[in-house]
Symmetry: C2
Amino acid sequence: MPRRPQSEAAWAAKRQQIITAAIGEFARRGFHATKMEHIADAAGIGKGTIYEYFATKDELFLAVYDYWMDTYEAAMQRAADEHRGDPLATADALIETAIAFYQEHAAYAPILLEFWAHALRSDDPHFLERIQQMKQTLGAIGARVASELIASGAFRKVDTASFAQLELGISDGIFLHWVLDGQRYNLHDAYRFRQAVIGAGLMRPMLRRMLESKITKRLTSGFLNSNAPGARSKRSR
Amino acid sequence: MPRRPQSEAAWAAKRQQIITAAIGEFARRGFHATKMEHIADAAGIGKGTIYEYFATKDELFLAVYDYWMDTYEAAMQRAADEHRGDPLATADALIETAIAFYQEHAAYAPILLEFWAHALRSDDPHFLERIQQMKQTLGAIGARVASELIASGAFRKVDTASFAQLELGISDGIFLHWVLDGQRYNLHDAYRFRQAVIGAGLMRPMLRRMLESKITKRLTSGFLNSNAPGARSKRSR
DNA sequence: ATAGTACGACTGACCAGTCGGTCGGCAAAA
DNA sequence: TTTTGCCGACCGACTGGTCAGTCGTACTAT
């Protein structure tokens, strides 16, 4: 982390400008194939200038990583806060936020995978810790919603922490396979299908009976044949 | 793919020897950090010799990838065949096989992630096609089991293809998060928890009522506090 | 003037892939 | 049986190209 002269704000802004450019380049080409010059070009600055703000390429990578995690975490936190007190609405909002984020960043999936690989292998524990911190944060949100759903009588009793972590894994798994499948189907539909499976299992009889026909419809129609838009189908009904 | 002299068998054996060495090195260091010399050393041969069997580093990477996929696919296929006719047993066997494979190859998770990233980015469609082929194969197995479960009256009606693909995503997601979590908990327990959630949702009332107490137990105890062995707990009961 | 900032040509390290040479084994000749 | 000659698997020093990071210069603002 080099010196930090001029105004604090200007420094941070330029740093951010570099991070933004780096995200795009890293995503398009991958960490190793991305040359510092590419990033400099994308940011409209000279290569040397990057080194005024980041000591090494690795440090820049890490900054990109942090920035991304922060963004996602903040979006989810906001979604959770907006509906505080209404667990069903919160659950919906969380899912919608996650889907939106995933769809928006589908092109970044390769770099996300590289992040994970890097984190698992790196000597620098920062990467892994950052992931676990995020899992912690999101897990806490999920567990809170789950316990509210249980308290309200909508859900049967579950270990909420386990359930929340499972959900995080499932979410990433669905996203990953959706990308690996060439975004062939509608991500919303896949999530809804998943929700129907889980919902059918965890809802208390009363709620389940209420939603039975919707669940049945989702379960029997699946998501694979949905109108394959890579994204942009805010409300597919 | 260079010439293929001597006996076919000897050629294949040496090729395999290189692949085996490469798996370990790629897994430990990652694709980019692994030098051809490392692989040569690990295989106990000279660097130049590798190029008698593989034209480029990429081609070797791809061979490693194929080998791995083949192994997994074959194991799953075998598990499915062994219990043909008994869908519940087949489902169990598939899950056990998947868990065993995942646990055995936990150290290779980073390279699996790199594979995926590479597949998504590579100009060579082989990688992505190979993944999709595997999803196809495993998906067909899963769909068959699901439809048998439905036919037998154990499961409610679902779109079996969607369900199978969802399961593949979920499996990978759980595995991924288990690894990212430092293999802190027992993978078996996580899968059982998942099964309980799904089972509770899809089982027909009769079966569900029969298994109710087991499901309740799994759902309420979760998997996060399980006796954290990274692997080796064949039957934790 | 001068301190802070930007730059990009340059350097040194690195590494995939090459290529000329070695050597063990085998078969034909002696 | 021994000698000679050949083959091709094997090797690793070397090459050519690449790129992260440096540094002397130039610009800008005060």
